[in-house]
């Protein structure tokens, strides 16, 4: 059999359009999953046992069952609650729920890696919970969490292909439709693979950039902070400016 990539060229616009849907699905569900995961991670580290248990149960349930099952379940179970969901909203809900479970665990590990003594030091100067989270815990947790968070983001992006099973016309389903009508599976799948690689490479790049940006000891004080805290009298600031 000879390969013929001209077919892939013809269908590239269709596939790129599907890629936009893949990107949208990945970004939206990752964002929702991260937001819920952040609140849940705080709950998971709370001093209230009931809250800790509730969040733990959520993670246990959604991390312990396949995303594929969540997709089917949300899609087919919605009518029981008197609503019919289109494929895309169902996929967004299902993938956000599962993303939330993973992100809860990832963010919790970051929060718990911040030494208790630092939180006590913040309490001792009179800082309140919200400020401590924002100024002391989050900046450090973010840095610790970047590698596992981005790894998960990458898997999550690839997992959007599962939404094809409930007929969301994202990249995977679109590829399947194209090759089943053109019989050029190898070519079309190669192109789809390349597109996924480009997407995940962007995320890898983002990870590197974030890691560099948050390595505070290596970078020292930013120029803006120098100016704010050390004042204009500082010679090094004047030279930089």
């Amino acid at each position: 059999m000879e390969l013929d990539f001209s077919v892939a060229w013809t269908y590239l616009p269709v596939m790129l359009e599907a890629t936009l849907l893949t990107i949208m699905l990945a970004l939206v569900t990752q964002t929702i999953g991260t937001s819920i995961g952040f609140v849940f991670a705080l709950g998971r580290t709370s001093r209230f046992g009931v809250l800790r248990f509730a969040v733990w149960s959520y993670v246990w349930l959604f991390r312990g069952t396949p995303v594929l099952l969540h997709l089917f379940f949300v899609y087919y179970a919605a009518p029981l609650f008197g609503v019919t969901l289109d494929a895309l909203p169902a996929a967004i809900i299902a993938m956000s729920l599962s993303s939330a479970a993973y992100n809860t665990e990832i963010l919790r590990s970051g929060i718990q890696a911040v030494h208790k003594g630092q939180i006590e030091a913040a309490e001792a100067v009179g800082m309140r919970y919200g400020r401590i989270v924002r100024r002391v815990v989050a900046p450090q947790a973010i840095r610790i969490v970047i590698p596992p968070y981005m790894s998960n983001f990458i898997s999550h992006t690839k997992n959007t292909s599962l939404a094809s099973v409930i007929t969301v016309p994202e990249l995977m389903l679109t590829s399947q439709m194209v090759y089943s009508s053109t019989y050029r599976a190898i070519e079309i799948l190669s192109v789809a693979g390349l597109i996924y690689l480009v997407l995940t490479s962007c995320l890898t790049g983002l990870q590197l950039w974030l890691e560099r940006r948050t390595s505070y000891e290596a970078r020292g004080m930013s120029r803006r902070r120098r100016r704010q805290f050390l004042g204009a009298s500082d010679a090094s600031v004047r030279m930089e400016a």
Partner: protein
């Protein structure tokens, strides 16, 4: 009793249990304005727990803490005790400086930002205002040249001096030191004790849990010996070190001064 006459710190009959272990068995302590009290005693005797009850990092099971006449943690009203809101506790803590054995600096910001954070976050100061005070405090602890250094790049002694500057910047009414030199290499102990001595000389009311008997003898107005969750003996340094009354204190001194 007016505020001016009341002692600066008053802890009465503080009890604290961890699980089934009684860490404090009814400890009382009074510190006058501008006084320096040193807490000495063997490891596990409850020194840290007492300090942490005073600024309410630990909630005592019972007992009353007052700083400058104001209750910390819980308020008594007609015999009923009600707990203070988180906001009130935070407000009281901002007036109580604390220095920890392990420094507990925030590693993600520079030294001067460590000193300034409480001012912007708790006192609501603008960054320029906070930075000005933070610079002054860094100078006070002899670290004006290290303002932009991150904690990781400072020696233990320098870190502890930043931690002291951080506490002083809040203009607290009292300062609590929990074994501030125990984690330091011997050659770095002196610089920290020197700063503490100058803070004491400026009239700060201080409680210092310490194993530095030389410092206690020199700087303390009163030394309190704790053992097994009790305040066993208290008195002027001369009395405690040269004329210990209880067996337990004699045994402790024999061990540490040997």
């Amino acid at each position: 009793m007016t505020q001016a006459e009341s002692p600066m710190i008053e802890a009465r009959d503080i009890r604290k249990t961890f699980g089934t272990f009684q860490a404090l068995k009814g400890v009382s302590l009074t510190v006058g304005r501008g006084e320096v009290v040193c807490l000495i005693g063997p490891s596990g005797s409850g020194k840290s727990t007492l300090l942490r009850c005073i600024n309410h990092l630990e909630t005592p099971d019972s007992g009353v803490v007052r700083v400058d006449g104001q209750p910390v943690g819980s308020v008594e009203n007609n015999g009923r005790t009600t707990r203070m809101s988180a906001r009130q506790v935070a407000q009281m803590r901002s007036q109580i400086g604390m220095v920890f054995q392990m420094f507990n600096l925030w590693p993600h910001i520079s030294a001067i930002e460590n000193v300034a954070l409480g001012l912007t976050e708790v006192k609501g100061m603008s960054v320029p205002q906070a930075a000005k005070i933070a610079r002054e405090q860094m100078e006070r602890v002899g670290l004006a040249a290290k303002c932009d250094a991150f904690p990781e790049h400072l020696s233990g002694g320098q870190r502890q001096r930043v931690a002291i500057a951080r506490a002083l910047a809040m203009e607290p009414k009292v300062m609590l030191f929990d074994e501030p030199t125990s984690a330091l290499d011997p050659e770095l102990v002196g610089e920290v004790l020197q700063v503490m001595e100058s803070v004491a000389a400026d009239g700060m009311t201080m409680i210092v849990a310490t194993h530095e008997m030389g410092f206690a003898r020199k700087v303390a107005d009163k030394v309190v010996f704790m053992d097994d969750g009790n305040d066993v003996e208290a008195g002027a340094p001369d009395q405690i070190f040269d004329n210990p009354k209880s067996d337990r204190l004699q045994r402790f001194l024999n061990k540490v001064l040997a």
